[in-house]
Structure formats: structure tokens, C-alpha cells
Symmetry: C2
Subunit: 471 residues, 2 copies
């Protein structure tokens, strides 16, 4: 241990920059103001933390060399991808070096026979999806940011998305990783086969480690056969409570759609009338999508789902009649987060998961917290999983004390009902002060020991996940 990492001095940075340029070449090391500002931001509301330098490795050995040089100079270094993260996980909070994996963006191979794809971490998730789908294969994890986010970021955060309901999250598809440890040492963990239990499951430990235990430089992913038939329906309800109860009823009826996405009244207002028109009078909507290989089976499943929802008070069941209609519906869903940002000047986005049986109750109590504190609370997201993106909207930074109070109450409620404070966005910077609500001191201490085993200097992505106050 060389003590707690700190902001590097200009002298140290100058000397490190020289060595980085000598190793990587001039154009792979940038320190201009616009670049530093851009790499100090992400899609969270955690603030702006410009690094001293941004480096763009082109290979695994570049990444290894960068890590070794940063360690040698005692300079903090923080990997980043598309900077689409929602918890500040790739923000270089102590400055130092931002290590962007975006140039390592090649799709290395797709095997239709093995149902396996191998990619570099900078590959945009949506591009992988398109490439495998053109060969009749399927990569299910579908974060809303799929047109910009990268696989490396998905691995770091264990990204989910609507289809997680039926198909699981990123970790369910990562078979193997080439991994650069904080020391710069390069390992291959996991495998290329569908199953395997040789040794400890380091893939399991690394996926979702939020860039604090090392970085993936090559990712081996399991694929599935692409389902031949997909049917999508929009179900409207008088209120969000009706919708939440219908989601539970669908699952309890033994139906497992691939998505059950919820939009409450505020979320509908955020996107209605732009590219898509929701049914008039809808107090909430659910987007349900069912898939399979046989038309009759898929249609029958969607019909049963519609019947359950009508029984639970659905106003209308509209089935998308074309791929264009279906795409319009999903574009509206993906527009909720940016749309909410446009409704009020500021928003903070939460990402709680609650036991599915408690969802309707929790939504009611989240809304009540907003009412009590005079704040607008939007709830939407992956209701089938119990994963709610609860957003607090506000007009002015002066409202922050009330917003912080709302967040704190919402997360306490979540833990109280047996839920978790983050379903897919990660703890990062935004939620580290709340992690002790969910995890007691001995568990946090064990995780700090793991971090110290992998990163004794603490220079890799410092000040994340665990609150410094608890050090």
C-alpha cells in the first residue's frame, strides 16, 4: 500500500505525459481543454471531474503499458467507454488519466456454430446486436443507451435492459474476458464454452465491478438463436397502480414475456405527441413483448397476456401491426429519460429494484414522498423485474435539499421492503453514500479487502462504490 491516492501534481503529470506519448504516440494522448471537459462528464448527475489527460489505447498491450506507467508515477487512472453511465462510474474524480477504450472497437469474430461472439470493449452494443442478428443470432441485453453505450461499459456495470425479464443481464452472456489487472498484468479468465466451472468464477466477480478491479480488453459472449417471431403490445391503464398490479398478475399467470415495461403518467407526458401518441386518458402504460419461434404460440401467449391485463382493469390493448409501429413504441420508451429531462430543468434518476409483490405499494409510496416534499416523481422502467427508474424532477439547484431528502427516503423504503438500491446503473459515485443502507459494515469491509487485493495502491478508479468516510 502506498497510502491513499490523491490528485497528482502538475510535475508528476508532465513527466507521465511525456512517457505516455513516447509509448503510445502523440495522437493517442490528449490534454486539450475541450477533450478534458468532455471526459469529465457522463450521463449521471454526479458532477464534472476533468482528468489531466485522456489516453486512447489501441491494443491490450497499450492498456497494460498505461496502467504500469500510472502505477509507477502514483497517478490515478480511470477507464471509460462511451460515458453513457448513469452513476458516475467512469468519472476521474481525482483527475489523473482517463483511459478511453473507444478505439478498441472491433468485432473480432462471430461463430454461428458455437453461438459465440468475441469483441473488443469499445464496440457499441447496438452494432454487435445488428451484426449477430444479420446471421440469425441474438444478443439479448438491451440497455436503453444501446445506440451509444459500449460492451466494455456493459461488462463493467453489468448492464440490463427491458429484455432482462426473460433473458437476464450482461453477466448471463459473458463467457470469458481478457482482463488487465490494475498492476498492468494481463489475464484470460473464463472460457469460450457455454458451461465451465474450473476454478473460481472470476468472470462473475469482474462483471459489474464498475471499473474498480481492472478492465476488459476482449469480451467473449454467448449468443442465442434469434427468435423468429416477436409481437409487441401497448396496454393502457387508468393508473400506475392498475398497471403495476397487472404486471404481477401476468407473471403469476405463468406468462413470461420478454419485456414488461412500465410508463407512469409523468413518463407518458414526457414523450407523448413527439414521435408517438399514447391512447388518450391513459394514466399509465405497459409495453409487453412476447417472442418465440412459432407464430401460433407467440400469438396465443400475447392473447393470454392481454386477457389478464383487461381483467386487471386495462383500458385498451393495442398490438403493433408492423415493424415500424413496433419501432415507434420502443423509440418512445427510449425517449423517456431524455424527455423527462426536458420537462423540468433538472432530474435525478434512481434505479431501484423491489420484490415484485411489493411493486404497486412501493410506487404509491414513492409518489407520496414526491407529494409530501413538493417534487414531481416519475416512475417507469422494467416493471416485470421489479426494476423501477424512479426520477425526481426539479427546477432549481435551490431545491437540492428536498431532492436529497426524497432520494434518501426512496432508497430507505426500497431497502425496507427487501429491495436493492441499484438494479443496473451501478453504485459508482452517485450512490456510494447510500450503499451502507443496504450493506452492513462487515460486508463493505470484505469488499474493500477484495479491492485492496486487486489494487493495493488504490489508483484504479479511486473513490468509487465505497464511501471514503467509511475508509
Amino acid at each position: 500500500m502506498s497510502g491513499r491516492p490523491a490528485r497528482p501534481s502538475p510535475q508528476v503529470m508532465e513527466s507521465l505525459a511525456r512517457e505516455l506519448r513516447a509509448t503510445l504516440g502523440e495522437e493517442a494522448v490528449r490534454g486539450d481543454a475541450a477533450t478534458l471537459d468532455a471526459y469529465g462528464r457522463d450521463e449521471s448527475d454526479a458532477g464534472v471531474f476533468p482528468p489531466h489527460l485522456v489516453v486512447f489505447p489501441g491494443s491490450t498491450s497499450d492498456v497494460s503499458a498505461i496502467f504500469r506507467l500510472c502505477q509507477a508515477h502514483g497517478v490515478p487512472f480511470t477507464p471509460c467507454g462511451a460515458r453513457s453511465g448513469k452513476s458516475g462510474g467512469s468519472l476521474p474524480v481525482l483527475g489523473g488519466v482517463a483511459v478511453s477504450l473507444e478505439r478498441m472497437n472491433r468485432l473480432l469474430s462471430i461463430s454461428t456454430e458455437d453461438l459465440v461472439a468475441v469483441a473488443q470493449p469499445g464496440l457499441v452494443t447496438g452494432e454487435l446486436m445488428k451484426a449477430v442478428e444479420s446471421r440469425g443470432l441474438f444478443y439479448p441485453p438491451d440497455p436503453a443507451s444501446l445506440d451509444m453505450c459500449t460492451l466494455g461499459g456493459n461488462v463493467a456495470e453489468n448492464a440490463g435492459g427491458p429484455r432482462a425479464l426473460k433473458y437476464g443481464v450482461t453477466r448471463d452472456y459473458v463467457l470469458g474476458l481478457e482482463w488487465v489487472l490494475p498492476s498492468g498484468e494481463v489475464l484470460r479468465v473464463g472460457r469460450r464454452t457455454i458451461k465451465g466451472v474450473a476454478g473460481y468464477d472470476l468472470v462473475g466477480l469482474f462483471v459489474g465491478s464498475e471499473g474498480t478491479l481492472g478492465v476488459a480488453t476482449e469480451i467473449t459472449l454467448q449468443l442465442l438463436p434469434l427468435p423468429r417471431v416477436v409481437r409487441t403490445a401497448l396496454l393502457s391503464f387508468p393508473s400506475v397502480l392498475h398497471a403495476a398490479r397487472a404486471v404481477s398478475a401476468v407473471l403469476a399467470a405463468g406468462i413470461l414475456p420478454r419485456t414488461l415495461e412500465l410508463l407512469d403518467d409523468v413518463a407518458i407526458r414526457a414523450v407523448d405527441g413527439r414521435s408517438f401518441h399514447f391512447p388518450p386518458g391513459a394514466g399509465a402504460c405497459v409495453i409487453a413483448e412476447v417472442d418465440g419461434n412459432v407464430e401460433e404460440g407467440v400469438t396465443a401467449e400475447l392473447t393470454s397476456l392481454g386477457e389478464v391485463c383487461l381483467h386487471e382493469g386495462a383500458l385498451e390493448v393495442l398490438v403493433a401491426q408492423s415493424e415500424t409501429q413496433r419501432e415507434g413504441l420502443w423509440a418512445a420508451r427510449r425517449g423517456v429519460s431524455p424527455g423527462l429531462r426536458a420537462l423540468k430543468r433538472h432530474k435525478v434518476s434512481d434505479d431501484i429494484v423491489v420484490p415484485r409483490s411489493r411493486m404497486a405499494e412501493v410506487i404509491g409510496r414513492l409518489k407520496a414522498i414526491g407529494t409530501e416534499l413538493g417534487l414531481t416523481v416519475a416512475t417507469y422502467g422494467h416493471a416485470g423485474d421489479g426494476n423501477l427508474h424512479a426520477n425526481v424532477l426539479y427546477d432549481s439547484p435551490d431545491d437540492w435539499p428536498r431532492v436529497e431528502e426524497a432520494l434518501s427516503r426512496m432508497l430507505r423504503l426500497t431497502v425496507e421492503v427487501g429491495g436493492t438500491i441499484t438494479g443496473e446503473h451501478g453504485v459508482g459515485l452517485s450512490k456510494k453514500r447510500f450503499l451502507p443502507l443496504e450493506q452492513p459494515a462487515p460486508l463493505l469491509s470484505l469488499q474493500r479487502q477484495l479491492k485492496a487485493l486487486f489494487d493495493p495502491s488504490g489508483l484504479l478508479n479511486p473513490a468509487k462504490i465505497f464511501d471514503d468516510a467509511g475508509c
Copy 2:
């Protein structure tokens, strides 16, 4: 670190036994010869290693107290369940205390609304299955030993089974664990919700850690809705190579059955004519099972599968016409391992996984290794996953040098084609000498450091996974 663990002296054991009896009560601590012999064996061929004592904790605090007492006396302790393991993972190789979780066998709760079950580790897997199925729910992992193996053992080994092809393995269903660390400290890791990414994925690290990082005392499992329709077919082929190519062709055709189980000629011979008659002239068979909620969809899928197999040279496609026929088929499949044991006096069972595109080639080469060395090699198992149970049968212990040579060649071949030496049985004692074939020294060293972080004294389940020679 208190040095390398060693066999305890009689004096130390006597003093520990007194304290264990005082803590747990007389009947929870046994040292009679029959019990010690029984707890020195499992379903592997790794040998007999009787412990000095067997203890039967009734609660988490009992487990914690046992671990603390063993640590205080410097006595090795090894957890065990049903002792149905195939890699010797629960054998107390240095003697000491065998900690049997079998009395902690309660099913604590099933929530149909949350799709979650909570159980103690000693619960038999098949009993959990029956209990959840009676409520319309589904726990997919189905190791062949499901009538005797326990959930705690399934967690320790990350058990699979035929249905892993469509539904994944144990780790895909473990949401949360109550976990006793080697020190005796009790933690809760993971969650009760379907998703969650708060902190490092310790559940991922602990599942499959083969009883070397601690023991589960409570297991929270995700369930699925029970598929309403299941159809099963037996497909016979002229040879195992035809069958292997058909398995690949089914998957390449975009069909994802829930099982694609392979039996070669030797495996068929081991069970034919007992409870089940295979089609005459079959050189290999595949048991394919398809499930879903809608009759038409499932039937159509099975029909497509049959057509693909006929195109690949299948002799016959027989669809089970009743639940009795279906059960008979699966009973035959589960009878392969004991049946092979009856064919010759000895067998060693391998558990390799190879990329699916290489399966037919690998089976041919495994058979050739047997022919060259004058040994019978049976190949069967979860062919859809590329997971083959390759068994070497032999008559006399004098054959061991040739058997060892065959095993070594088979595992080298596996690694050479990009496979793994164990798909679901674990490394344990049986395969630790082969692990360096697959994993290089730096990766093994990192895993040893993890083990040392959790278990500095090394007293928990010593001499497993990592070969002592490499210490």
C-alpha cells in the same frame, strides 16, 4: 497465516471434540467408525478419506461456532452435503471435522408472487423441485443426482444438468446467500430481487467455489413460471458422430430445446433392456425435450427438430406419448452413470466441455484414445452444451497407468480445442493436477490469493482445486 494445515493430533481432536459436544450437544457430534467411513467417501473415484469427527449443525449459529472452534484448535474442517459429488470436493483429505449440512434441510418459503424460494442447504434438490412445481413454478437446474443431492452442494459446485441448455446452471438462479466465512463470521450477500448490482458480485464468486471460501446456510433462489407443455423425443442414429452432428445442426437451425442429451453405443448398452428398450440398431441416441406454454408452438418446434435430425441421418424419431413413457426415458438417462459402473469393475468419469462446433471431432478423438490404449471409452451427456461425460471403463487397478494416460490425453485434447476440463462436476480433488493444463500460473496464483484472503489459515477444505505441488 499459521502455516500450512496438517492432520490434527489425537490430543487436539480430543479437546476439540469435548468443546464441540458441549456446544452442539452429544448427538450432533459423531466419531463411530461406520460414520467416519461413510463421510470419507463420495461419488468420485478419488479415494477414501475418513474425518476424525462428523458434526451435524442445526442452525447457522451452530455452523459459525464449529468454524470458530476448528480455527481456534487449528483443525481442518470440510463441509459436506449428500456426498454425491463427482470430484471429491467434500472429502476431508487431512481428516479433522466433516461438517454435514444435511440436518439443515428446511424449505423456508416459496413466494409465487415474487417467484422466489428460500431454502436451507441440506434440502434435496428434487424435493425443492416438487414443492415449487406443485405451485405452478419451476426450478430448472436438474443434476442427474437430483433425488439425493442437496442445494448446498449444488451451490458449492455450480451444478448443471440437461436443462442447462435452455435454462442455465445453478448460479443463474441463486439471488442471495447467507454465508459463513471460514472465520465463522456470518454475512448475507446478494439479494432477494431478480436484478441487482450493488457492490461486487460475491454471490457469483461464492457459487462454484467448491466449499473452499465458506458455506451457504441459506439460499435464495429465483424461480420461473412452470412451462405448461413439455414434449420429449428419442432420436436414434447409426453412430455417435451422426448424433453429434445432428445436435449442432439443431442449434444452427435456430431451435433451442431445453435438453439435447447424447448417449453413445456404450452408454446405451449400459442401460438398454433394464427399465427401457432402445431402438434396435441404434449406435447412438439423443433425448430432446422442448417446452413452452402453447401446445401448437411446442409441437411445431419438436417437429422441426425431428426434421433436422432426419436430414442428418437419424434412423428414427420416437415421441413420448405419455408422462410414463417420458419418465422411463429420463430414468434410463439417469441410469447411465450407475449402469456404466456395472459394465466394468471400475470407471473414471470426466466432465469436459468443448466448443459445440468441435464436438463430433472431439468424440471421434476420445474414442480413438480409448482404442489406442485398449480401454473402453463411453461418451454421453449434455451434448447441446458441448458438455460430455467421457468415462473410461477398466477391469483392474493394474490398468491405472493406462487410465491415467487416457485421462491426461483427453483433457489435453479438450484444452487444445478451446474447451474446459470441467463443466459441472468441479475440480475438487480429482482434477486439481490437471487444472494447470487449462489455467496458467498467474491465474492460479491470483486464485490462491483470493483463497488466502478468505481463509488465511487454510483450514477450510484444504488441498482442493489447487495442486499442493504448486504452493
